[in-house]
C-alpha cells in the first residue's frame, strides 16, 4: 500500500496546524493506576444507603471520565480528547443527535475505530451507534449527585427503568467503547464488566445518590 506521495506537501501544509494542536495523548491500555474498586470492597460500609451512594461514587469515575462526558455535553456541541476541548471540526447536533443535515457524525466516525496514516492522531474513534447523548441526558456541568438523580429519572434517562439502566451500562456497545477507544486515547477506568457490576450493586442497594 502506498500513500499518494505527490500530494504529501499540500497535505502537510493543511495538516500541520491541526496536528500540532491535536497531538495524540499517550494511551493507557488497561491503566493499572485507574482500576475500579470491586463491589465486595464496599461490604464494610454497614449502612445500606451509605454503601449504595459510595458504590455510585466509584462508578462515577467512569461516568465522569472524558470518554463518557465528551458526548454528554450541556450544549449541543461535543468535546473531544482527555482535555475535553471543543470538537474539531465544530459540530452541532442540530435537531437530532447525529450532527447537522448534510454532515452526520458518520461522515468521519465509522462503525469501528479507524487507524490513520498521518502523524499526530493515531486513530479516529468509531462505533455503529456513534451519536451525542440527548440534551436531557447532558452530564457536563453537573455534579455526580446531580448525574445520579438524572440517571434515576425516566424523563432524563431515555425512559429506562433502573433494571434497564443496569443492562445498558453492562452491555451497550457504545458504552463499551469507553474501554476500547482506539489508539491514542485513554480508556475509562476499570472494565465495562466491573462498571456494570457497580451499577447493578448500586441499584440492588436502593440506588441512593451521594450527597451534594
Amino acid at each position: 500500500m502506498t500513500k499518494p506521495s505527490h500530494l504529501a506537501l499540500c497535505a502537510a501544509v493543511l495538516v500541520t496546524a491541526a496536528s500540532a494542536t491535536w497531538s495524540a495523548t499517550a494511551p493507557a491500555p488497561g491503566d493499572p493506576a485507574r482500576p475500579l474498586r470491586s463491589v465486595a470492597s464496599f461490604g464494610t460500609i454497614r449502612d445500606q444507603a451509605e454503601r449504595s451512594a459510595a458504590i455510585f461514587a466509584e462508578a462515577g469515575k467512569v461516568i465522569q471520565s472524558p470518554r463518557c462526558l465528551n458526548c454528554h455535553p450541556a450544549t449541543r456541541t461535543p468535546t473531544q480528547g482527555d482535555a475535553m476541548r471543543p470538537h474539531v471540526p465544530f459540530m452541532v447536533s442540530s435537531d437530532g443527535n447525529h450532527g447537522p443535515k448534510g454532515l452526520p457524525c458518520a461522515t468521519c466516525h465509522g462503525a469501528d475505530n479507524s487507524r490513520t496514516f498521518a502523524a499526530g492522531i493515531a486513530s479516529v474513534p468509531g462505533n455503529a451507534h456513534w451519536q451525542l447523548a440527548p440534551i436531557e441526558m447532558a452530564w457536563q456541568g453537573l455534579t455526580l449527585p446531580q448525574i445520579c438523580e438524572q440517571l434515576k429519572d425516566p424523563k432524563r434517562n431515555g425512559s429506562r427503568s433502573l433494571a434497564q439502566i443496569v443492562t445498558h451500562m453492562n452491555t451497550d456497545h457504545l458504552v463499551g467503547w469507553a474501554w476500547e477507544p482506539g489508539e491514542g486515547r485513554s480508556k475509562a477506568p476499570g472494565t465495562q464488566a466491573g462498571f456494570g457490576a457497580l451499577i447493578e450493586a448500586w441499584v440492588k442497594t436502593g440506588a441512593h445518590c451521594p450527597r451534594a
Binding site: K3, C10, M91, L103
Partner: protein
C-alpha cells in the same frame, strides 16, 4: 499481498487488491486511478477527501475499504451525473468559486451532500454542514454563494 476486493465506484465495479484496512482514498487514487479525490490531512479534519458512500458523505482517508463492502461509492468524477451534483458544479462555475482548487473536490461533494439532505439551506445551515471542509484560499464566501445558487437552480 492483500485481498481481492470489488469496489463499486460511480456505477462501475472495480477489482482491487488491497488489505482490508486500506483507506478508501488510497484505493480510489492508487488502485482505481480516480485522482480527483484529494489527500489533505489523513485524519478527517480537512474534508478534501470527501466522497459519498451509499449517498452519504464520508471522509475517504479514514474509511477502510472493509467498511465499504458492496456500498455505492460516488466521487467527484461521477457526481456531475446526479441532478444535485450537476447543479452544484454549474453553480461553482457560475460563481467562479475555485482559486487554487485543491480542496474543491471535497467542497463540491460536501455541498452536494448538504443539498441532498437540505434542498434550501440558509447561511447557518451551510456553515454547519461545510464546517469540516477547509479552504486555504479562503473561498468560503463564494462557496456559500454557490450553494445558494445551486439551491435556486434546483427550485427553478
Amino acid at each position: 499481498m492483500g485481498n481481492a476486493v470489488k469496489l463499486k465506484v460511480n456505477g462501475e465495479i472495480h477489482d482491487v487488491d488491497a488489505e482490508p484496512d486500506t483507506p478508501l482514498l488510497w484505493a480510489l487514487r492508487d488502485l482505481v486511478g480516480l485522482t480527483g479525490t484529494k489527500f489533505g490531512c489523513g485524519v478527517a479534519l480537512c474534508g478534501a477527501c470527501t466522497v459519498h458512500v451509499d449517498g452519504l458523505p464520508r471522509r475517504s482517508c479514514v474509511t477502510p475499504i472493509s467498511a465499504v463492502g458492496e456500498a455505492e461509492v460516488l466521487t467527484i468524477e461521477g457526481v456531475g451525473k446526479t441532478p444535485v451534483g450537476k447543479a452544484v458544479q454549474d453553480a461553482w462555475l457560475k460563481v467562479e468559486v475555485v482559486q487554487c482548487g485543491y480542496c474543491q473536490a471535497g467542497q463540491i461533494m460536501q455541498a452536494t451532500a448538504l443539498l441532498t439532505a437540505d434542498p434550501a439551506p440558509d447561511d447557518a445551515a451551510i456553515d454547519r454542514a461545510m464546517t469540516g471542509n477547509i479552504c486555504r484560499c479562503g473561498t468560503y464566501p463564494r462557496i456559500r454563494a454557490a450553494i445558494h445558487a445551486a439551491a435556486k437552480q434546483r427550485v427553478a
